[in-house]
Amino acid sequence: MSESEEDKGIAKRVEEFLQVFKKGADFTQDLLKENERLRYKVLELENALSKSGAGPIKSAEPDPEVVELRRRVAELEEENRAILDRIRHVEAENLSFANRYVDIEAENNNLANLYIASYQLHSTLDFREVLQVIMEIIINLIGAEEFAILLLDEKTNKIEVVATEGVESEDVPSLEVGEGIIGKVAQTGENYFVKDLDTYQKDFQKPIVCIPLKIKDHVIGVIVIYKLFVQKSHFAEVDYELFTLLAGHAATAIFSSKLYSESERKLSTIQGFIELLTQ
């Protein structure tokens, strides 16, 4: 079902609920009026009987009309209770429906973020553009103000800075795999989150978040975040999803772009050789 159809369905259900609610309210009003009328009637009959010298209706054989009226009052009261129960039930259902709608909207928002992030990450094979997309995701979708992207140099076994935002490259440490928090994340491939965001003091060795960039179990780099936007006080559920997405998709996007630029370079070298040989 499309979203607009879903919206229509929701509006229809809300309209139906309001109709049921209004009918219920009207009916309850009618019942109360009827109840009142019947009580008055009973009182009138009792008074009439009293005036005629028959005394109050306490005889062993009460007036059948009064009995019938009392039975009818009891019936209407029971009906009234049933309607009120039904209204309460519909109200609870409506509340549950509204909560579900909010949950679906939130989920929709999360999926939109993940879809756009994933789409953008694989939209280019240019290494610099891939880094730019990763940075845009971290800024715009996660809400980080200061962070860095570090990649593993397989030759030196060190993780080196390749891009930063809000901090100087020189301030971010280049570490051996296994060294410190960042190095440990590169070694184990497990996410790191600082325990208490409120009391965090910026330390380039201890970021707020450190996410490994992984292709299967092979870590090719890490993302470290040092500061979030002032308006971002905590991580939302979608942020953890985005971190997971970044761990996998950003890694493959970086890896693919590096392979592509390497193959492009090799191709142009080979073409150069061929041109030399054919001249």
Binding site: E3, S4, E5, D7, K8, A11, E105, A106, N108, N109, A112, N113, Y115, I116, A117, Y119, Q120, S123, V133, E136, I137, I139, N140, L141, I142, G143, E145, F229, V230, Q231, K232
Partner: protein, 130 residues
């Protein structure tokens, strides 16, 4: 069915995509993209827009300059302008609103918020599926 023209001014392709993705849930919307303030002003000349959504930090011309120029122009000054930005401090918000922005949405954005604001400024709140 009514049709509305909306201008999205944002230098980040990721953000543009996300904003457009959110806005596309509103039927009858014609979305025009611009990558900075100057590009936005050019696009304003081509179409009569019902709403502008703009980032603040952009190359060539930033969003605040765009807001102030639009507000000074007698033709465009009534178009609702929604500012979407990473600057979340109160003074940034006040500055944008003082220049003439109608609404201020700090990043990271929620698509639900974009939709809610867009529907409000396009007066679509009472229209089902609008």
């Amino acid at each position: 069915m009514s049709s509305y023209n909306v201008l999205v001014v944002e230098d980040s392709p990721t953000m543009r995509q996300l904003i457009i993705f959110a806005l596309k849930r509103i039927r009858g919307l014609n979305i025009v993209e611009a990558t900075d303030g100057v590009d936005g002003l050019k696009k304003l000349n081509d179409t009569r827009f019902d709403m502008i959504l703009t980032d603040i930090n952009m190359p060539v011309m930033d969003g605040l300059k765009l807001v102030s120029l639009v507000r000074k122009d007698p033709i465009y000054k009534t178009i609702p302008i929604i500012v979407i930005t990473t600057e979340g401090a109160n003074e940034d918000r006040d500055r944008a609103l003082a220049l003439g922005a109608d609404e201020y949405i700090p990043k990271p954005i929620q698509t639900t918020k974009i939709l809610e604001v867009a529907r409000r400024f396009l007066n679509l709140n009472d229209k089902v599926g609008g």
